[in-house]
């Protein structure tokens, strides 16, 4: 009985989360511009979507900025985490506090501060400002995903590698990096997601010729959104869904693979999450 209620609660909440998304998707096939009354099935909006150069260009901007900022923030964040890990308590604290500012500041305020900064630096709003801004709010998530992996690391592994004649860079590549890789990957995925999903910061830092998708959609909501946007979001949603299913599938396959190989007695490895 208790189990039934729990499942029912989950179902209700997921219905709440997904109902709006399914309506959006459904009305991308609506034969009329209306977003509430169903007029029959059509694929016209999908055809029109690919003819709309503004939307296609904005999608392109979104992807470029997301890839560039995810790459940059993963690099910057991973290297920073390695450095912060070696710091003394005090400096470490300072770094982590400043690092957490972007996460606890609202998007609106962050966007505004970036706008003032870029105006002062006389940087014209465009790809560069977008990438710089997105990188800044993504690095903290990379750092916070890599740090716990470094803490779990066996302190002696790195020195053992050095004693066995590895150069510091070899030790880093062969010993440290493989261990912290899961953290780096999660951080990179988060950075990419945050960048794609961002509207507010982009709104304050995008130029007129480099508007990402979210900003273009915003300027449309002020009039009336064309079902083209519904069509686009349906496609994006399906793309992400497929991607996630693949990742999940691979993960569970790796796990079952690993479990098959595990020896009966496991050496104590400290706490794993």
């Amino acid at each position: 009985m208790k189990r039934f209620f729990q499942q029912f609660y989950l179902l209700l909440l997921f219905l709440f989360l997904y109902a709006p998304i399914f309506t959006l998707m459904l009305f991308s096939f609506n034969a009329d511009k209306s977003r509430v009354i169903w007029h029959g099935f059509t694929l016209d909006w999908y055809a029109e979507l690919f003819r709309d150069s503004t939307i296609i260009h904005s999608l392109y901007v979104t992807l470029i900025v997301a890839f560039a900022s995810a790459l940059l923030s993963t690099l910057l964040g991973t290297v920073a985490a390695l450095g912060i890990h070696c710091m003394r308590r005090r400096t470490k604290g300072v770094y982590l506090t400043v690092n957490s500012i972007p996460m606890s500041t609202s998007d609106t305020i962050m966007g505004v501060t970036f706008m003032l900064l870029f105006a002062m630096l006389m940087l014209e709003k465009g790809y560069l400002t977008l990438i710089l801004a997105h990188t800044t709010f993504s690095v903290p998530y990379v750092v916070l995903n890599v740090m716990p992996k470094l803490r779990q690391l066996d302190k002696n592994a790195y020195e053992a590698a050095l004693d066995l004649g590895a150069t510091p860079s070899q030790a880093l590549q062969k010993v440290i990096l493989p261990e912290i890789m899961p953290g780096i990957v999660t951080g990179a995925i988060m950075a990419f997601t945050l960048s794609v999903d961002d509207f507010v910061v982009s709104y304050f830092t995008a130029g007129t010729t480099s508007q990402p998708l979210s900003v273009v959609i915003y300027s449309m909501t002020r009039r009336r959104i064309s079902p083209k946007i519904n069509a686009l979001s349906t496609l994006l949603f399906l793309a992400v869904l497929i991607l996630l299913v693949i990742i999940n599938f691979r993960q569970s396959r790796d796990e079952s693979h690993k479990n098959a190989q595990k020896p009966k007695y496991q050496p104590l490895k400290g706490v794993e999450n």
Binding site: L17, I21, G83, T108, Y141, M190, Y218
Partner: protein, 285 residues
């Protein structure tokens, strides 16, 4: 591995995190000619009601998120591991649908001729209300959109995952032995939850509250789409000073500064409830 590896990011933080905040402080205390002034803050007094409304709506949204999100996280943490990953995915997935579109979708649900009202008309609830209450003019729909409630709903919808994820992450890390120990010592399941599980999940709750309240208090899109733009929030006010017709970055900075201070104060009070379990508490994923 040397500590100088963190220096590039240190420089980055100086330029892109510290400097912008100092700029906001500078703008907030100067006028258009660059002279020192407190005028920006005194002219903010006329916006007290906007501040009040923003904090009230954000507070309501945070409470609703906690009430909905905690049970969700709790139930999720009780599921078999395989299903947990699946549910996590289901919670993250909507975040990939553009934030504006997700909010926009609610318009078609809440509108006067939207799905909810259509449904209520079709099953006769509207007619029933008219015959029962006998209003002066018969109503054709329930006013759902352009209300404070719609804004809170939009906030809850958009920020609920931010409440669920940190709580869930803390819950799954709780040592099962502690729960078993409490049970062995004869605590009924209600007491186990009240005295063991809930206190241990506090860091997650605090992180969740922060992550919902901070974006909710400064949002400016939700109030425009679901609130009809009649009821301004702080976010709208700031937007207006920087990107709108009322272009006045000095006033905008002052508002931003005050809001940052207020939010900081709220967080400080919140953190007093935390038992100081350190860095890990703020961790998101």
């Amino acid at each position: 591995m040397k500590k100088y590896m963190a220096y590039p990011y240190g420089v980055w933080m100086l330029i892109f995190i510290i400097a912008p905040i100092l700029l906001v402080v500078y703008y907030a205390f100067t006028d258009k000619s660059g002279a020192l002034t407190l005028g920006n803050f005194t002219s903010m007094l006329s916006y007290t009601s906007i501040f009040g409304r923003s904090f009230l709506l954000a507070f309501a949204a945070t409470v609703v998120c906690l009430l909905l999100g905690y049970p969700l996280a709790y139930i999720m943490s009780k599921q078999p591991p395989r299903w947990q990953n699946f549910y996590m995915m289901l919670i993250m997935l909507p975040m990939w649908m553009n934030f504006l579109l997700r909010t926009y979708a609610w318009m078609s649900i809440l509108e006067n001729n939207g799905f909810i009202n259509q449904f209520l008309q079709n099953i006769g609830v509207i007619r029933l209300l008219n015959t029962l209450l006998r209003p002066e003019a018969p109503i054709e729909y329930l006013p759902l959109i352009n209300t404070g409630g719609a804004v809170v709903l939009g906030m809850v919808y958009n920020f609920l995952p931010f409440m669920v994820l940190p709580i869930y992450n803390v819950l799954i890390k709780i040592d099962k032995k502690l729960i078993e120990a409490a049970q062995d010592l004869g605590a009924p399941s209600g007491a186990v939850f009240r005295k063991v599980i809930f206190p241990l999940s506090m860091p997650g709750v605090i992180a969740g509250i922060t992550m919902v309240f901070v974006p909710a208090v400064s949002t400016f899109v939700i109030s425009k789409t679901l609130g009809g733009g009649k009821e301004m929030l702080i976010g709208d006010l700031i937007d207006l000073q920087f990107m709108g017709n009322a272009y006045n970055p000095q006033l905008g900075s002052a508002i931003a500064l005050v809001m940052m201070a207020l939010v900081f104060l709220c967080m400080l009070i919140m953190n007093r409830f935390d038992d100081g379990s350190g860095e890990e508490g703020g961790l998101l994923l």
